[in-house]
C-alpha cells in the first residue's frame, strides 16, 4: 500500500480582479513508504500548492488524499515542512526553534531534550544549539529547518525548493547530506523542485508536472544506485529527457 495517494486533486484561487486562477487540475500520483519522490515542474506551476494542501495550509476544492490508506486528516497528520526560506523564529535559539515544533505537536516535555539532541546532531549543529538563527549562515539555518521538520517524527517530509536560495556549492553539500539523513531516518519525502539535475540526483522517482493548471505529465523512475555522481551519464541523460518533456531549451 502506498504511503500517500493523491487522486484528482483540484484547486483554484480567486484573484483580485474577480477571475479565478486554476492551479491544480486533477493531480494524481502516489508515493511509497520511505520513498524519495520529487515533484518537478517549471516555477509557479502549482507544485507547492500540493504541499500546502498536504500541510493543511490550503483546503483543496476537490480530490482525495490518503495516508496509509486512510483519508487524510490535516489536523492530525504530522507533517514536517521545509520551506524555501528557513522560516525560523529569529528571537528563539536553535534549540527553542525545535522545541516550538515539539510543543506545537503536543510532544511530552520529557522527550524534548533527547529528541532535539539527536536531530541537532544529525544535521551537525550540536555546538550551535544555544545560538540565535541570525548568527548562522543561510545553509546552517536551512539545516536547522530540516532538523525542525524531522524532530516531530513526521509521517511525511515536505520540502519546497529548500536549496534554491543557497549558493550552488552549499546546495550540493546539503543535498548529499539530505540523502545521508534520509538513509538514516527513512522518511517518505515529497521534494518540490524546478531543477531537473537536482531531481535526478536526489529522487527515487520523479513526478513531472505540466505548466499551470498543473497535471501530472508523466513519472520517471531514477534507476541509478546511490551514492550518485552529479556527472553520471545516466543522470545527464535522464535530465535531458526531463528538460525535453518540460518543453524547455
Amino acid at each position: 500500500m502506498p504511503k500517500i495517494q493523491i487522486a484528482n486533486l483540484t484547486k483554484s484561487f480567486s484573484r483580485q480582479d474577480g477571475s479565478t486562477l486554476r492551479v491544480l487540475d486533477g493531480v494524481t500520483f502516489h508515493a511509497e513508504e520511505n520513498e524519495f519522490c520529487c515533484l518537478l515542474g517549471v516555477s509557479g506551476c502549482g507544485k507547492s500548492t500540493v504541499l500546502n494542501i498536504l500541510a493543511g495550509l490550503v483546503p483543496p476544492d476537490a480530490g482525495e488524499i490518503r495516508l496509509d490508506g486512510q483519508g487524510l486528516d490535516t489536523h492530525r497528520t504530522r507533517v514536517g515542512y521545509v520551506f524555501q526560506r528557513p522560516r525560523l523564529l529569529n528571537w528563539r535559539t536553535i534549540r527553542q526553534n525545535m522545541e516550538f515544533a515539539l510543543k506545537a505537536h503536543g510532544v511530552p516535555h520529557g522527550e524534548w531534550g533527547a529528541r532535539v539532541d539527536h536531530y541537532i546532531q544529525l544535521v551537525g549543529l550540536q555546538q550551535f544549539d544555544r545560538e540565535f538563527p541570525l548568527a548562522l549562515s543561510g545553509g546552517m539555518q536551512q539545516r536547522v529547518a530540516i532538523a525542525r521538520a524531522l524532530v516531530i517524527d513526521p509521517d511525511v517530509l515536505l520540502m519546497d525548493e529548500p536549496f534554491s536560495n543557497l549558493d550552488e556549492l552549499t546546495a550540493r553539500g546539503l543535498r548529499r547530506e539530505l540523502l545521508r539523513i534520509w538513509r538514516e531516518e527513512r522518511k517518505t519525502v515529497l521534494f518540490v523542485t524546478h531543477n531537473a539535475l537536482e531531481a535526478v540526483y536526489l529522487a527515487d522517482r520523479i513526478v513531472l508536472f505540466t505548466n499551470r493548471p498543473a497535471r501530472v505529465m508523466r513519472e520517471l523512475v531514477v534507476d541509478v544506485p546511490r551514492e550518485r555522481e552529479l556527472e553520471d551519464p545516466r543522470l545527464i541523460k535522464l535530465q535531458k529527457e526531463i528538460v525535453a518533456a518540460l518543453g524547455l531549451q
Binding site: 515542512y81 520551506f83 522560516r87 529569529n90 516550538f100 515544533a101 540565535f132
Partner: protein
Amino acid sequence: MKQEREARAYVVRFSSLLAILLVWWVVSLFFPPNFIPGPHRVLAEVWKILSSGEFFFHMAHTLKRVIVGFVWAFLVSVVIGMLMGVNRVVEQFFEVEVLVGLTIPGLAWAMIALMWFGIRDMAAIFAIFIIVLPMITVNMWEGTKALDRELIEMAVAFKASRRMVVRDVVIPQLVPYLFAATRFGFALAWKVVVLSEMLGLSNGIGFMVNYSFGLFNMDGVLAWTLAFTMIMIVMEYGLVKVMERRVTRWRPAMTVW
C-alpha cells in the same frame, strides 16, 4: 573588543555633553546673565529646586498626568492599530482620522482640552491621550502590516495553536514597533503636558517654567527645563533602552547606540 567599543561610545557621548557645556559657558561670557546665564548659575538653580523638594512636587504632578494619558492612549491605539493592520475595512475607516490626528498641533489640543475640562488634571490627560493616540496607532498599524505571513504559515503547518502563534510568532515581531511607539509617544506626551500646564494648570513643570518666565527669571526657566530634561534622559537610558536591549538580544550585535 565589545567592551572596548562600548567604553569608547560612552567617552564620545560624555565628551559631546562636555562640549555643549563649554560652548554654553563661552557664549555666556559675552551676554548679560539675565539673558544667557552661564552653566554654573543654572546648575546652582537646579540644585536649589532639587534640594528644596520643589522640583519633585511639580514633577510628580506632571508625571502622573503623562502616565495616565499615555497608558490610556497606548491601550486604545494598540488595539486600533493592530485591527487596522489586519482588517481592510477597519483600515479604511480609521485611516483619515489617524492622518488628520497626526497633523493637528499639540498646542491646539491643549487649549481645546482646557476649555472643555477646565483647570483640572483631566485637561492635560485628555490632551496627551488625543495627541499620542494617532502616533502609536500609526506605529502598530505599520508593525501589523509588516508581520511575516510566511512565519505564521510555518507555525500553522506545524500545528501550532492560536495561542502559540500569537505569543511566539506575532508578538515578538511587534516588539520593535511597540518600543518605537513608546518612545515617540512619550516624547510627544512630555511636550503636550508642559503646554497644558503653562496654559492653565496651577502646578507641574510647565507651570513653573511659565512662572519663572512671568518674573523674567532666565535662571529659573533654564533650570526647570534642564532638570526636567535630565529626568527624561534618565528614563530613556535607564528604563526604555535597558528593556529594549533585553528583549531584542537575538539581533546580531551591530553598532552600539
